[in-house]
């Protein structure tokens, strides 16, 4: 079932506010909350206007006085414009502010580079103490929201804009634990977000037809990264491929490459948005196809890499490359 993660968040937050009087929803005129939700939230909803630095600072001040603020803005504005307030006022103090960032990755579609967030994961995951999560679908978003109630420090949640497809049914994600969606010993495909995770699942299916077995990891939590799951999956593999709606540097691919270089050296291919700003109109699906963040691309990358490795004699799984 297709559903927007930001809508799933909004609809789950309202009843949560009623159950937890310490929670407060601070908005920056995002338009996410309709009159009905605003009325239901009562005093626990406040629209502070288009002022993201003040939004983060006020949230930190309230958190220092015992409240748990959910702040709402677009990912692009949260992590660029308000970055210093997040770093100094929220992360430095380890305060339980929940940064609910919509329009993550290419989700802003035709709105253009000002509204795309292709650096947010890189920026957020280097902040000490910051938990960084990319729920892949609506159900995962609800699970993250529930689990956030037990998180003492700050949290960054990357949400989408329009409806995105759901992952195949399975247990909900646990913050900090990678989800193994498929197991195979030859390559590891690690992704975050709806389209990349689904692309990796489809790629794994296709690769199996070529005799290449892939483990597929939904690395929904970039910090703290589940290094144990990653190292265990990468151990027997000849190649790890990451796929994300993010510039190639610093995001999931960066986190995976850093970890594996130290813990279980293996070749890592980082697939993401190339080093460029979005240059044309298109919805999320169009832009994903335009930048080739697809199952076909993953298959091609894996086959080329293993083929090259086989010819140079550096892989122990030559029989898989046929």
């Amino acid at each position: 079932m297709s559903r927007a993660t930001r809508e799933a968040y909004r609809d789950a937050l309202i009843p949560l506010l009623a159950r937890h009087p310490e929670l407060i929803c601070l908005d920056s005129d995002t338009g996410l909350f309709g009159a009905e939700q605003v009325a239901a939230a009562g005093e626990q909803y406040l629209n502070l206007g288009i002022a993201e630095q003040n939004l983060m600072g006020m949230a930190a001040g309230m958190a220092a006085c015992g409240r748990v603020p959910f702040v709402n803005t677009m990912a692009a504005f949260a992590t660029s414009r308000a970055l210093e307030a997040i770093k100094i006022d929220i992360a430095y103090n380890g305060l339980p502010v929940r940064i609910m960032a919509t329009h993550g990755g290419l989700a802003a579609g035709h709105l253009g580079p000002t509204h795309q967030a292709l650096e947010d994961l890189a920026v957020m995951r280097v902040l000490p103490g910051m938990t960084v999560v990319v729920p892949a679908d609506a159900a995962a978003t609800e699970a993250v929201l529930e689990q956030s109630l037990h998180l003492p420090g700050p949290l960054y949640v990357r949400l989408g804009r329009k409806a995105t497809p759901a992952l195949p049914p399975g247990p909900p994600p646990v913050i900090g634990k990678a989800q193994t969606l498929r197991e195979g010993g030859d390559v590891v495909l690690a992704a975050c977000g709806a389209y990349p995770v689904l692309a990796c699942l489809a790629a794994a299916e296709e690769l199996a037809g070529h005799g290449i077995e892939a483990t597929v990891l939904n690395m929904h939590t970039l910090r703290p990264l589940d290094t144990e799951a990653l190292v265990a999956a990468a151990g027997p593999a000849d190649l790890v491929v990451t796929l994300e709606e993010h510039w190639r540097g610093g995001g999931l691919g960066g986190a995976v490459a850093e970890t594996l270089a130290e813990r279980a050296p293996v070749r890592v291919l980082r697939l993401g948005v190339p080093d460029t700003f979005v240059d044309q109109v298109g919805n999320q699906e169009h832009l994903i196809a335009h930048y080739d963040l697809t199952a076909e691309r993953v298959v091609r990358a894996v086959r080329t890499a293993l083929d090259t490795a086989a010819r140079s004699g550096t892989t122990h799984r030559k029989e898989h490359v046929s």
């Binding site: 206007g49 002022a51 001040g61 309230m62 006085c65 210093e84 307030a85």
Partner: protein
């Protein structure tokens, strides 16, 4: 009187406390790293009024949820805040000698490790949004405690200050008090020559704040204004404290060069003598 609260102290007494704090500030600037001497001395009387007369703040109960809260948004004046907190009894005055020395917690900008510091500050333009958060949370909790924040006049060039000014007025945070240390100078020169902000009173008032303007070097007068509030129900208050950068040191007062100073032994003794002379004529 170190460490004791001077309840509604006599003017002489507040002035005497301020004089002691000034001596600490000067001493700290004679340490290995020097310090923000000018801006520390310009806000000393404001800090004295707040901590020794106005605020409900008890070093024995620093986490009291009903306490008044203070933020030093112009975090570079940390040395003056440390001296004030030590004099007020939050930590031993002797520790001030550690300012700027390797391993000390007394960093150049306030950190939470220092008893009495609510939240770290230093990058300009953060204090007012944070204080708005304090004030709003206290209002939700039904507390009558007040939130104070001290800003520099140069700091008003940061846009986030005005984002928060809008929010505070629109939310009617009348238990919030901002104080602007108007010493007229920033790092490289006169504030009015770099980014003119006058008429300041009209600017704040047009943003929906209740504004007063006073001599920032009269701690008793400052205490009188800051102690009585809100000045207008439903409006946040801002006190424009007209001050002198480097107050008390004739050889540096009113000069941008006083911004960051490492006092040589000779200049340290010159500064101590100048403070004594100023106090004698006060």
């Amino acid at each position: 009187m170190t460490g004791a609260l001077l309840e509604r102290a006599e003017p002489e007494t507040l002035a005497a406390v301020a004089a002691r704090i000034r001596r600490h500030v000067v001493d700290m600037c004679a340490g290995p790293e020097g310090g923000h001497l000018g801006g520390g001395l310009s806000c000393t009387d404001v800090l004295t009024a707040l901590y020794f007369s106005v605020m409900n703040a008890d070093p024995l109960r620093p986490a009291d949820p009903d306490r008044d809260r203070f933020l030093l948004s112009k975090g570079h004046a940390a040395l003056a805040l440390y001296a004030t907190l030590a004099e007020r009894g939050y930590f031993p005055v002797e520790e001030l000698a550690e300012f700027g020395r390797p391993g000390s917690r007394l960093m150049g900008h306030p950190v939470r490790a220092v008893p009495g510091v609510e939240l770290p500050t230093g990058s300009l333009g953060h204090g007012l949004p944070l204080a708005c958060g304090f004030a709003l949370a206290n209002r939700y909790a039904g507390r009558t405690s007040r939130s104070f924040v001290l800003l520099g006049d140069g700091e008003l060039q940061e846009g986030s200050v005005w984002e928060a000014a809008i929010a505070a007025a629109s939310l009617g945070l009348d238990r919030l008090v901002a104080i602007v240390d108007c010493n007229g100078l920033q790092l490289t020169g006169p504030t009015e020559g770099i980014a003119p902000m006058e008429p300041l009173a009209e600017r704040w008032s047009s943003f929906g704040w209740s504004v007063r303007e006073v001599d920032g070097h009269d701690p008793a007068l400052l205490a009188e204004h800051l102690g009585a509030g809100p000045w207008e129900p439903g409006k946040p208050s801002v006190l424009l404290a007209r001050t002198v950068k480097g107050q008390g040191l004739p050889f540096l007062a009113g000069r941008a060069a006083s911004h960051y100073v490492t006092l040589s032994p000779r200049n340290h003794s010159r500064a101590r003598n100048a403070l004594r002379a100023t106090e004698a004529t006060a």
